[in-house]
Assembly symmetry: C2
Homo-oligomer: 664 residues x 2
C-alpha cells in the first residue's frame, strides 16, 4: 500500500477535495482513486459502487431499513446506503445487551403479554414488519411485527426503539398474512398461516384424533383474518375494539391493505386450497405435492369497512375473547370474496395508487395484476363463476385481472417506485424483474411490460424499496433479501449469513451496489423509511418508565431519595445510577429475601447508558439516560454478590459496582 497523508478535519479536507477536483488531469485525487482501487484489485466500477454506498465517518445514513429477523425473533434496523446494522431490536426473544427479558419490568411485562398456553414463549419468528402510516405514507411512530411460529404480534415504539407490547391473537395458532397497516393505521392486519382446529385455545386445547385430521380437515380447521384496532395515542393494540373474519382452512399466505380507491379492502392470497393434510407415513402425498395439484388457488378480498359495520351492528360473536364475523355472516354481508390466482401464490402487493393488486405465484412465471375497479364492478354485477365449498363467491379471473406480465422463474413479492414500475423478486431465477403497471402510469403497449432484470445472489425472497409499499415511494434504493449467500462471504461455518443486496434504481438499468451479510437472523421482509420521518429520543426525561413513557412512581428524580426499606422477607431499594456509582451500593440481606430494586439512571447525557447485573442471577438491566426500571429477585444462596455496571460508562466504570451481602 502507498503511504497516505494524515487526516485532518473534514471541512479542511472537503476544501482540499474541491481544489483537487478543479486540478488538472494526472494530479490530485482523481487518478489516485483509480490507483487505490487498482491496488486493491478493484475495477473502477467497483470503486464507483464503493463511493455510491459509503457513508463517511461522521456522516449519517439517509434511510433505515427495518427488517424482520426471522426465527431470531427480533427486528433489525439497518442504515442505507451503508447497509450497517444500527440496532437489533429485541422483540419476541430475550436479549441481554438491551436487558430485554432479564428482569427489567417493562420488558418482562411485554414478553409476558405474548405468553401462550402454560409456558412463556422465549422466541419468535418475525416475518413482516409494518410501519405505521398517516395519509398512506410512513409516519415514523410505531412498528408492528408478527410471529409466524405463533399467532402473535408485537408493537415497537419508534420513540425509543423498544418493544412495548406483545399480544397473543386469539384463534390464531400461526400467522403470516400481515402485519400490514391501513393507510391511517386505524387497523393493522394479521391473518393465520396454517389453519387451527376451530375454536382452538392455547390454554385448554382441542382434542384432535389422527383420523379426523386426515379425513375431516375441511370441517375441522379454520383460518382468521384479524383487524387489530390501534390506539392513536400510544400505538397499543386494542383487542376489545378488534375483530376477526372467519376464513376457510386454505393456507392463507401474505396480505396487504387497500389504499386510495381500494381503501376499506384487505387482500390475502392462499395456497393449499386443496386442503392437503400431509402424512407421507400414512400413505398421503407430501404437502409440497398435495398442496400444488390445482392450477388456481384463491385471492381473498375482505371488505373490512363492511365487517366493521357488521360488528357494530352486533353481527359478530365473541370467540376466545375477540369478536368474530363467521364465514356465513361474511358471505351474507358481502364482506368476503374470492378470485382465482395462479397456483401457490406467495406475494400480494397493492400498488401506490391503490388501483392495482399484484399477485405472484411461485409456480407461474407471471405476475398477475388485479384491478380494484374491475373487482368492485364484478361484485356489483354479481359476476361470479361460482362459489367455493364454503359458499364464498368466486369472481371470474378475466373479469378482475388488468394484466399479466411474464417476469421469470419463481416470482414472489413486488414493491414499487414513484413512476409506476413494479419490482418483483424471482426466487428460482435469483433475480429482480422490473415491469410496468398500466394506466394511469403507463398506457397502451408500454403497460404491463418487463423492462429490466438484474441477477441477485442467491434465492431472493422478499425485497424492499424506499417507502415502497406506501402511496409515495421514493424510487432510489431497492434491497434484495436473499436467502442463500453460499460463496459471497468469508466462510463462517455451515450456517451462512443471509445476503441483503443494495440496488440502485436511479439509472436506466438497475445496478448492484453492495452485498451486506446479515449474520444474526434470517430477515424475511423489510420496509425502508427516510430518517427524516423518524424522531427518536436521545435521552428519556428523568424518571421515565419506558413501559408507560411517563414518570415512574419509583423514580429517584425531583425529590425522592436513594434508600433501603426492609420488611418481612423483603428488601426494597431505591437506587440512583450515575457515573461512576450506585447509591446505595452495599445491600445487606438474609437468605431467602426478595430483593426489589428501583433503578434510576439520573443522567441526561446522550449515550450515558448504565447496566445493572448480578452474578449467578438472570438479572441484567440496561438503563438509558433518564430511565427508571424495577427489577426483583430472590437471594436464595448466602454470599457476597458484586453487582456491577455492564456498560463501559467512564474511566472509573470498573469501580462502578456494589455488593449484595447475604447472610444465612
Amino acid at each position: 500500500m502507498t503511504k497516505r497523508q494524515p487526516l485532518r478535519t473534514h471541512w479542511t479536507l472537503f476544501a482540499l477535495g474541491l481544489s483537487l477536483l478543479a486540478a488538472a488531469c494526472g494530479g490530485g485525487g482523481q487518478g489516485e482513486l483509480v490507483a487505490l482501487a487498482a491496488e486493491r484489485d478493484m475495477s473502477p466500477e467497483d470503486a464507483a459502487r464503493a463511493i455510491k454506498s459509503f457513508v463517511p465517518p461522521g456522516k449519517l445514513d439517509d434511510y433505515i431499513l427495518f427488517a424482520s429477523g426471522g426465527h431470531s425473533g427480533q427486528v433489525f434496523a439497518v442504515g442505507l446506503p451503508s447497509m450497517r446494522l444500527l440496532k437489533s431490536i429485541a422483540v419476541f426473544t430475550p436479549e441481554s445487551w438491551q436487558g430485554y427479558g432479564y428482569g427489567a419490568d417493562w420488558s418482562e411485562n411485554a414478553i409476558a403479554g405474548g405468553s401462550i398456553g402454560n409456558e412463556t414463549l422465549k422466541w419468535g419468528d418475525t416475518h413482516h414488519p409494518a410501519l405505521s402510516e398517516t395519509d398512506g405514507d410512513y409516519d415514523g411512530r410505531w412498528l408492528y411485527i408478527n410471529d409466524r411460529a405463533n399467532g402473535r404480534i408485537a408493537m415497537i415504539d419508534l420513540t425509543d426503539f423498544r418493544t412495548k407490547q406483545v399480544v397473543q391473537i386469539p384463534n390464531l395458532m400461526t400467522s403470516h398474512g400481515g402485519v400490514f397497516a391501513t393507510p391511517d393505521t386505524r387497523y393493522v392486519h394479521v391473518s393465520s398461516k396454517v389453519p387451527a382446529p376451530k375454536g382452538w385455545n392455547p390454554k385448554v386445547g382441542t382434542s384432535v384424533k389422527i383420523e379426523d385430521h386426515l379425513e375431516h380437515y375441511p370441517d375441522l380447521y379454520r383460518g382468521y383474518s384479524t383487524w387489530l384496532r390501534i390506539d392513536q395515542q400510544n400505538g397499543r393494540i386494542l383487542l376489545d375494539e378488534s375483530f376477526q373474519i372467519e376464513l376457510p382452512p386454505y393456507t392463507q399466505d401474505l396480505a396487504d391493505a387497500g389504499k386510495g380507491p381500494s381503501y376499506g379492502w384487505g387482500f390475502m392470497n392462499s395456497y393449499n386450497s386443496e386442503m392437503a393434510t400431509g402424512g407421507v407415513n400414512y400413505g398421503r402425498p407430501p404437502l409440497e405435492a398435495g398442496a400444488s395439484e390445482k392450477d388456481f388457488d384463491f385471492l381473498h378480498m375482505v371488505n373490512w369497512k363492511k365487517a366493521e359495520e357488521a360488528v357494530a351492528a352486533g353481527k359478530a360473536e365473541v370467540v376466545n375473547g375477540i369478536k368474530v364475523v363467521s364465514l356465513d355472516t361474511a358471505i351474507a354481508e358481502g364482506i368476503l370474496f374470492l378470485a382465482p390466482e395462479p397456483r401457490s401464490p406467495h406475494g400480494v402487493d397493492v400498488a401506490p395508487n391503490g388501483s392495482y393488486i399484484t399477485v405472484a405465484g411461485k409456480l407461474d412465471p407471471r405476475v398477475t395484476v388485479y384491478s380494484i375497479e374491475k373487482i368492485e364492478e364484478a361484485i356489483a354485477k354479481q359476476d361470479f363463476e361460482g362459489k367455493d365449498r364454503y359458499g364464498i363467491p368466486i369472481l371470474k379471473f378475466d373479469s378482475v385481472v388488468a394484466g399479466q406480465v411474464e417476469v421469470g422463474a419463481g416470482p414472489l413479492h413486488t414493491q414499487y417506485d414513484h413512476e409506476g414500475y413494479g419490482y418483483t423478486s424471482l426466487f428460482l431465477e435469483s433475480a429482480v424483474a422490473k415491469w410496468s403497471l398500466g394506466p394511469p402510469y403507463h398506457e397502451g403497449d408500454k403497460a404491463f411490460k418487463l423492462v429490466d432484470k438484474i441477477p441477485v445472489h442467491y434465492n431472493i425472497g422478499h425485497l424492499a424499496t424506499a417507502h415502497g409499499d406506501t402511496m409515495k415511494p421514493h424510487g432510489n434504493y431497492l434491497v434484495a433479501l436473499n436467502k442463500w449467500s453460499i460463496d459471497r462471504f468469508t466462510n463462517v461455518g455451515p450456517l451462512h449469513p443471509q445476503n441483503l443486496q443494495l440496488i440502485d434504481l436511479t439509472g436506466e438499468k438497475m445496478a448492484l451496489l453492495r452485498d451486506a451479510p446479515i449474520g444474526v437472523g434470517e430477515p424475511h421482509y423489510a420496509q425502508i423509511i427516510s430518517t427524516k420521518v423518524l424522531k427518536p429520543l436521545r435521552v428519556y426525561e428523568l424518571g421515565t418508565d419506558p413501559g408507560i413513557m411517563a414518570k415512574s412512581d419509583s423514580a429517584i428524580a425531583g425529590g425522592a431519595e436513594s434508600r433501603i426499606e426492609r420488611r418481612d422477607g423483603v428488601v426494597e431499594v431505591w437506587m440512583s445510577v450515575i457515573r461512576s456509582q450506585f447509591n446505595p451500593d452495599v445491600i445487606a440481606a438474609k437468605k431467602g429475601d426478595k430483593v426489589i430494586i428501583h433503578l434510576s439512571n439520573v443522567e441526561q447525557t446522550p449515550d450515558a447508558t448504565h447496566g445493572f447485573a448480578v452474578p449467578t442471577k438472570n438479572v441484567n438491566v440496561s438503563l438509558d439516560a433518564g430511565e427508571t426500571t424495577t427489577v426483583e429477585f430472590v437471594v436464595d444462596t448466602p454470599g457476597s454478590y458484586s453487582f456491577y455496571c455492564t456498560e463501559f460508562c467512564s474511566a472509573l466504570h470498573l469501580e462502578m459496582q456494589g455488593w449484595i451481602v447475604v447472610e444465612g
Copy 2:
C-alpha cells in the same frame, strides 16, 4: 442522481475499467469517481476511504475480527476491511436463529455446562476472546471467551463456529483476567475479577455478615488465577488437569500470557489494592474513591511452569473440584511476585517478542513497560522492596521497568505491529497513541517515544490489531472499540450502538477508514485473524452430531430409516429433513406424551440449512446440511400443531411443514 450504465459481469467491467484507466483525462472512470463523490457531498479523501475499505460484491474479506459481545453474551465475527457483521455466535445467551438453547441437544448441553447454583444462567457478559495459538500465532482452531458476570468460560469450535463447551470455573464468582492462551494453547488463563468469599461455592454459598464485609474484607475474600488445560484434540477444557493459584483480594483486572523469553509466565494487573469495600450508605467512600487512594497497585507475575511442577509434586489441595496452590505455597515455591504499577491500571499486554510487558494505568498518562529480563534478574537477586500484607515479594519498580512513555489521558490497552510499535487506547482523550518499544526494535533515543496519535469517536476501550497479540503481528489494520458513539450514527433511540473504527496503519500516520456501528452488543475486546488461517466446514458429514463432531447414533444416514416408535408416554421419531419435506410429517400423540425427535438434515449442499419449530413451544432448531440433532418436549395441550421449517430453503419452503396431532 445521474443516469448510470447497467452493470454486466465483473470481468467485462474489469476490462472496461482497465481501458478507462488508460483513457485520456476528462473521460471515463477517473473524473467520474470524483464526480460521484461530489454528488454525494463526499470529499476525495472520503472517496479514498470508501475504496480502501470496500469489499466489492462477490469478493471476500481478508480478516475476521472476533469481538466479544459484552452483556449480549455472544461473540461477533466481523469481516475486515468491510467491517460487516458476518455472524453473531451464540455463547452464553440462548439465540433462536442458530437454535442455540431452544431444544437442540448439543446446545442445551453446552448451556447446562455453565449452570451455576440452582438456576441455569441464560446470559453472560463476554469480555476477552482468545484465539488458540500454535508457535505463538493464531492457528484458527478454537476460540475461548469468559463471562465477566460470572466465573465462566466457553469454547467455540472454529470448524463450525458453534459453542461446544461452557464451564463454570470453581472458586470464581466473576472473571476478567483472560481469556488468554499460552503460545501453544497448553493452557488458557482466566482470573477472578472481584474476589469472592474464600471457598465460596455457588450451590451452597457462604454466609457473610455485613459487618464482616465492611471490617474484615482482607481476610474474608480471595481471588484466583486459573490455568485451564486444553485437550489438543478437540479444544475442550480439562478441569481435572487444570489448577488455580490463590491471590490476595485485590481486584485483579486484565491478564496476558508470556511468550518467547517470558514463556512460562502469566501477568495480571490489579486495582483496589486498597481493598475498599464500598458502602456509601454505611458512611464509607464510594468504591471509585476508595479504590483510587494509593499511587501504586500491583502487577502480578505468575510462574505457571513452577505452579505446574508444584501441582505435580502434590503441593496443591482440591477446593470445589479444582487443584489450588495456596498463597503460602505460591510464595514459598517462587510462583507469585508483585511489582508496583501506576494506580488503577487496566491493560497488561505482552509485546510480540515476549520481552516487554506494557501496563497502562487509567489514572496515569504514561504506559509503563516492564522487562522480563529485568524481572527475572531481580527475582534471582531477591531484589525486593518488601512484601505485601500476605507476604508476597514486591519487586522494585525501578529494577523491572524498561521505560515509560507519556501517551495521553486515560491509557488503557496496548496492541502491537510487526515493527516494534505499540498502539495504546486513550479513553479520556478519545484517541489512539502510537509509540516505540525499546531494543531490539528501537535503540537509543528512538526507543520509548510517542510517534503518532489519532482521534477516535468516542471513549475507546480496547483496540485490536491484526494478529496483534501474537508473536507475528501484521501491522496493517487497527480497530478501535469505542464505547460511545453519540452523534456518529443515525439516531436509533437512547441506547446507542457501539462504534468500531477501522484505522489504516500502513502509512506514516494512522488514518481513519470507516465507522462501523455494532448495534447488537457491547464489544469489549477483539482479536483479528487472517481468513487464510481459518478452515471452517461448509457442510457436516452426513449424520454429524455437532456436540461430538462425529456420527450420531440417532442419524438417518447410511441405512437407518425414518420411523416412529411408541412406548408408554413416549413417541420417538427418527425424521429426515430435506428440501422440501419432513419424513415422517404427521405424528399422532396423546396429551402428556414426551415427544423425542431425532432430526437429520440429509442434504450435502452448502447453505442448505433447515429449521424445525413447533408452535406454542420453546422448540426451534437450526439444522445445517449433514447435521443430526435431537430435541424433546412434552405435548401437554391437545391440538394440531403445525411444525415447520424456519429457513426459507426452497421455492416450496412454505409447504415444508408437518403436524403433531395431539388427542386428549
